[in-house]
């Protein structure tokens, strides 16, 4: 069966520090991968998605970047965190070319920038 792992679960980082959040998927190949953010009291904001290794699409220009160094690994990074980067970050995957398949989400990372 397919599983998605996201870590860490919680993170407290000072302003100006770097960030690296990792997401891995098991049990499938060539998944589409997604990073979302939920700010407090707000809905889901799509940050990045990837349809293959090294292929990253950015939905919102900001202080963050994403990389996909391996087929089932998706990394969200920042060189210098801002207070506004605080939020709940969710990774998700879906099966490429299966339009009737929804997304499967990881358990999320709660990031607090102080």
């Amino acid at each position: 069966s397919q599983t998605i792992h996201q870590w860490p679960a919680t993170l407290v980082q000072p302003v100006g520090s770097p960030l690296s959040l990792e997401c891995t998927v098991e049990g499938t190949s060539n998944p589409n991968l997604y990073w979302y953010r939920q700010a407090a009291g707000r809905g889901l904001q799509l940050l990045f998605y990837s349809v293959g290794i090294g292929q990253i699409s950015s939905e919102v220009p900001q202080n963050l970047s994403a990389s996909r160094p391996q087929d089932r690994q998706f990394i969200l990074s920042s060189k210098k965190l801002l207070l506004s980067d605080s939020g709940f970050y969710l990774c998700a995957w879906s099966k490429a070319a299966l339009y009737d398949y929804g997304y499967t989400f990881g358990s999320g990372t709660r990031l607090t920038v102080v």
Partner: protein
Amino acid sequence: AQSVTQLDSQVPVFEEAPVELRCNYSSSVSVYLFWYVQYPNQGLQLLLKYLSGSTLVESINGFEAEFNKSQTSFHLRKPSVHISDTAEYFCAVKNAGNMLTFGGGTRLMVKP
């Protein structure tokens, strides 16, 4: 471009009362429709989905949603809610572009 509107950001309801969470979408092509539930500090879980066939779909925990093409709606209902149903609910639509578009979410607050 498609969009999803969840008309209520918060829905307070007493335990054992019925509830309806509203969802409307705009799309000019055939769509697939989903409801996700998010419990506090957790990821989203698929609650139910409409792909084709019967317009009424059900989940294992008593929720149901009805696809209404003429009204472009996919409202979520439960005849009797429990405290444990307290969560945020997201409606989403996917078309042949294979991207999910989410609504803004509805926070269901079940009170004893």
